[in-house]
């Protein structure tokens, strides 16, 4: 897939994510009101609307587009989710400098996770978005590197893994973030950040299916390298995944 198609896929994935955040606004806020400060849905919705607007003026460069989304989230989401989502995307976007390939998407996903853990000082089991991102990233890498899955299949497995990660946040006690102030009272509630991560990954997968299954017309003359085909999925994963 050429760069322009990659850029188009990134824009489309961002739009799908923005729609999803708008649709889930109340659901996310409800989850957050149980163990946080009841603003996650509104904040994510505002952030993705801003991202869409900013993408209008951005160049068709995959790294630049993902970075633009990151900066928009940092600026508009606020709280901790802004720097966690946005900062991780900004940092990871550098991996797409030479475009999106299976390889660069793995690097992207890992960089995203690494930044998230570092910035949030959180690890698996703390009841945060790390619990969704870690299984997704590990599963994605394993699928690509060990199982030789194609990127679309790998992303599908990653989304399944994220879903199990989100389920895992419910029965555990929060150790990071605002929910940790509740101590044992946080048990029994699903983590809002892990949940929004899953929603974004699901949208990424849906758009990746469209592009990687060939539903979208790709310029036959573009230098189509099977690795690059994986890119859209990965790149999208970048947006929402981790």
């Amino acid at each position: 897939m050429d760069r322009e198609t990659q850029a188009e896929a990134i824009r489309e994935a961002t739009a799908a994510m923005a729609d999803r955040m708008a649709a889930e606004k109340s659901a996310l806020t409800e989850l957050d009101s149980a163990i946080g400060d009841a603003d996650h849905g509104a904040n994510m919705n505002r952030g993705f609307q801003a991202a869409l607007e900013r993408l209008e003026d951005a160049d068709d460069d995959p790294a630049e587009l993902v970075k633009t989304v990151g900066v928009a989230l940092v600026s508009e989401v606020g709280g901790a989710a802004g720097p966690l989502y946005g900062g991780s995307l900004m940092k990871a976007s550098g991996e797409f400098e030479d475009g999106i390939t299976a390889e660069s998407s793995v690097a992207f996903a890992e960089r995203y996770l690494e930044t998230l853990e570092e910035r949030g000082k959180a690890s698996v089991g703390d009841k945060t978005m790390v619990d969704a991102v870690t299984p997704a990233v590990h599963t994605y890498r394993k699928a690509i590197e060990v199982d030789d899955s194609d990127p679309l299949e790998a992303l599908g497995k990653a989304v399944d893994a994220a879903e199990r990660g989100v389920a895992f946040t419910t029965p555990i006690r929060a150790k990071k973030g605002r929910a940790s102030y509740l101590g044992w009272r946080s048990v029994g509630h699903q983590d809002p950040g892990a949940t929004s991560t899953l929603y974004l990954l699901e949208e990424l997968l849906a758009v990746a299916e469209e592009y990687l299954n060939g539903d979208v017309e790709v310029d036959a003359e573009a230098d189509v390298d099977p690795e690059e085909l994986e890119e859209p999925a990965l790149e999208d994963g970048a947006d929402g995944g981790p």
């Binding site: 940092v74 720097p83 946005g86 949030g120 000082k121």
Partner: protein, 334 residues
Amino acid sequence: MKKLINEPDAVVDEMLEGMVAAHPGLRRLEGTEVVVRADAPVEGKVGIVTGGGSGHEPTHAGYIGDGMLDGAAAGEVFTSPTADQLSEMIQACDGGEGVFCVVKNYEGDVMNFETAIEMAEMEADTDVEYVVVDDDVAVEDSLYTSGRRGVAGTIFVHKVAGAMAHRGADLAEIERVAEKANDRVGTMGTALTSCVTPEKGEPTFDLGEDEIELGIGIHGEPGTERTEVMSADEITDHLAEAVLEDLDPAEGAEVATIVNGMGGTPLMELYVVNRRLQELLEDRGLETWNARVGDYMTSLDMMGCSITVLELDDELKELLAAPAETPGLTVTEG
């Protein structure tokens, strides 16, 4: 609750406008909630910046001026500024020698500053270092915080970092003295009443008519214990002893102190507290080199105070004594 506000949403913006109008040495970065020195960036000097939620005035922008800060970013009330604004501030205060950030230890502040530093490095290649101030001896891992909170002792960190930059020191030297000041300072506060945020318009927490909260944070977050109201001397002893126990200053050490008002406390009462604090320090064989009393880092309209003690050495003393001229703190020669 009666308040001198127009719209809760407009408070921060309108406050900054009024602040800049009052102090010609300050300038607002257009389209942001960032205030910088009117002459920023100062060429050839490391820029010293800070930022945090609003509601703590004169913190943060009130310490902008010669010998202290070059810039300060204001978030919404009790909310961290966003990383993009922090990054703009950092870039606007870089006079070619890099920028040093004084960050108070709250999860939101630290995350946004770390992200902003990456943005500034990416966008403008700015050299940036930072210190995370955690002087509150009352609690570990409170609301909003992993580890200790950053409170009024931050004023001393602003002062020594600002004076060091004014001397022409580089980023590493500034970081060293800022870390040293943070290591040697301790603070603990108490609330007699809750603060009232503009948004909510009612007390943030319930405190009975005859109760006080010891170890209170600057956002109304809980402290260590709630007790029956005590006399000024008893409260002072409680706070000061907790600070000294944590700090464990050397026998005969020189100290600088702050009795800080939380926004709603009459100055008269702060002086009453300072009287007892100085007696107690003398009893402990400590020598107060400089005692400050006033509203330095407030919590909106909360009644109460905090006590800060900094154990000095020659270098810190010189840096605190260096001239500074800001809306919130002025030190004159000699």
